[in-house]
Symmetry: C2
Subunit: 313 residues, 2 copies
């Protein structure tokens, strides 16, 4: 049996330990752990990498502290617009959606694009129409992230868990700067790879900006002969660097190991001024989780390594 492996992330960026409270950190860790366990259970039962990454990302989308699904930030117009992509490294198939609204789990919709259409990327009102035809689960506006509700949530965590800690609001992560993405990559017992990424985009974004998440080759990529990868960070630089495919290309065309390819890609990202990181896995079950910024919510597990969950450098 092949080594099985799963890695997830909940976004990278300016995550400073000095601005985090123990209660909030604990909450983030629980969210990551839950998502890892869900995908891992599938892999352990000889499920597919594709099912595992979808299941893990659904958990991350349902967790309100990450910027995806339920926790998605608001656009300039006060709306939730979500992007997601999934790729099957075995069949070299992919599906993605950009700015869908009110869809509970964008990653499920991305998978439906892959399985039920001849297209790869559907966007905007058309993607929502597809969602309605597919009868995916919709949620009302109230379900999704609001600044008010987000602050309440953080306050509740603080008050409920550490009653003596009266941290000032300034210590609480500013929802205005809430950025990030969630993602998962997996290698199953057959050595098949898959990647999935989902995001609520940039707070206050304008002009229908699409970032790297739904772009195959930039934010998401999977190919059995190389690796599965899910990125997070300042999307525009991942698009210019074609970052996800860049890791695969260095493995395929330079013959590098996953680790060396990943390090070179991070070097290149840094060189072009891109901030962020990614998670990646190869068909031998090797896992890397590199980033070039202060922190990345991340976790991984393989049948040789115990579950590991980390936030800072």
């Amino acid at each position: 049996m092949n080594k099985i492996a799963l890695a997830i992330h909940g976004g990278a960026g300016t995550i400073l330990k000095s601005e985090m409270t123990p209660a909030l950190e604990n909450e983030y860790r629980k969210g990551l752990e839950n998502a890892l366990r869900t995908g891992w259970e599938i892999l352990q039962k000889k499920g597919s990498a594709l099912d595992a990454v979808e299941a893990s990302v659904i958990e991350l989308e349902n967790f309100p502290l990450f910027n995806a699904g339920r926790g998605s930030v608001f656009t300039h117009e006060g709306k939730n617009e979500m992007d997601a992509a999934i790729m099957d490294g075995k069949r070299l198939k992919a599906g993605a959606i950009a700015f869908v609204k009110n869809v509970k789990n964008p990653i499920k919709l991305a998978r439906l694009v892959m399985e039920k259409t001849e297209h790869i990327l559907l966007a905007g009102e058309g993607a929502n129409e597809f969602a309605r035809e597919m009868k995916v689960e919709f949620e009302s506006e109230e379900y999704f992230f609001t600044e008010h509700r987000y602050r309440q949530l953080l306050k509740a965590i603080e008050e409920g868990r550490i009653q003596l800690d009266h941290s000032s609001e300034s210590k609480i992560q500013n929802p205005k700067s809430k950025i990030g993405t969630v993602g998962a990559v997996a290698c199953d017992f057959r050595g098949n790879l898959a990647a999935a990424t989902s995001t609520g985009g940039m707070t206050n974004k304008k002009f229908g900006r699409i970032g790297d998440t739904p772009i195959i080759g930039s934010g998401t990529y999977a190919e059995n002969s190389a690796c599965a990868i899910s990125c997070t960070g300042h999307g525009e630089y991942f698009m210019l660097g074609v970052t996800a495919f860049d890791v695969a290309a260095r493995m395929k065309y330079k013959g590098l190991s996953l680790e060396n390819a990943a390090n070179e890609t991070i070097e290149r990202l840094t060189k072009i001024n891109g901030d962020g990181g990614f998670i990646a896995v190869d068909a031998s079950g090797n896992v890397v989780l590199p980033f070039n910024c202060e922190g990345m919510y991340r976790g991984c597990i393989t049948n040789e390594l115990e579950m590991k969950i980390e936030i800072y450098r």
Copy 2:
């Protein structure tokens, strides 16, 4: 002085000589020649590759027989939705737009995204809003392609030029199957590279499908240390193959020449069942125009090679 070079395309696909009339073929050749001359003049006057590819693509967008700008096909809802991308290989900067409406020259808007925003890809209503803020030229619905007007145009070409040829309508290219893209790549006297691609999308497309054209790394890519490339064909396979960046990656990571990298990428495209082709140029002014289907409207010129315009294999 560096060798300067320019290549353009007007789409690839099922272009059969048996279905083409001499008058129509002449019209296509004139459209390609005009676009080549416009960009070439800029390169000869020591203008930049970026200005040259933009100018050539503007001409191709204004030419009604190609599926871009004026000649854009209709979506399922009877609307024109246009995509375009431009990339500057010197600065590694890019701009792209997806489904804008009524914009006369989508490539100009893509360049404005590159020069005036921190984003790379804007889509839908937001992209149109950006177009209005930028005060780009808009055209009424009548300006753009209609099936009726397209048939009239083809008929006029036939009747006006070859009065004895009474070709049946069945011989006339079916507008329902009008597919394609236009694009240009250039190397200027400084050895700077640029690529530009523009399309009217798929006839009868649904669900807000976005193809490879506005995706950096798939339909469009430029990097001085490798090549500039513009793709055309069945977009979904160019997205899965991350085709534009794949050529650059083979040059950078395998040390291949442009020609060998291009041949390997076309082989891979064929292997994953993708139909189409691309034009590419490197910083030494080498040009390739490979494709794996019946034909590709294409042309190129360098200061060592005379202007060449071809349609079939």
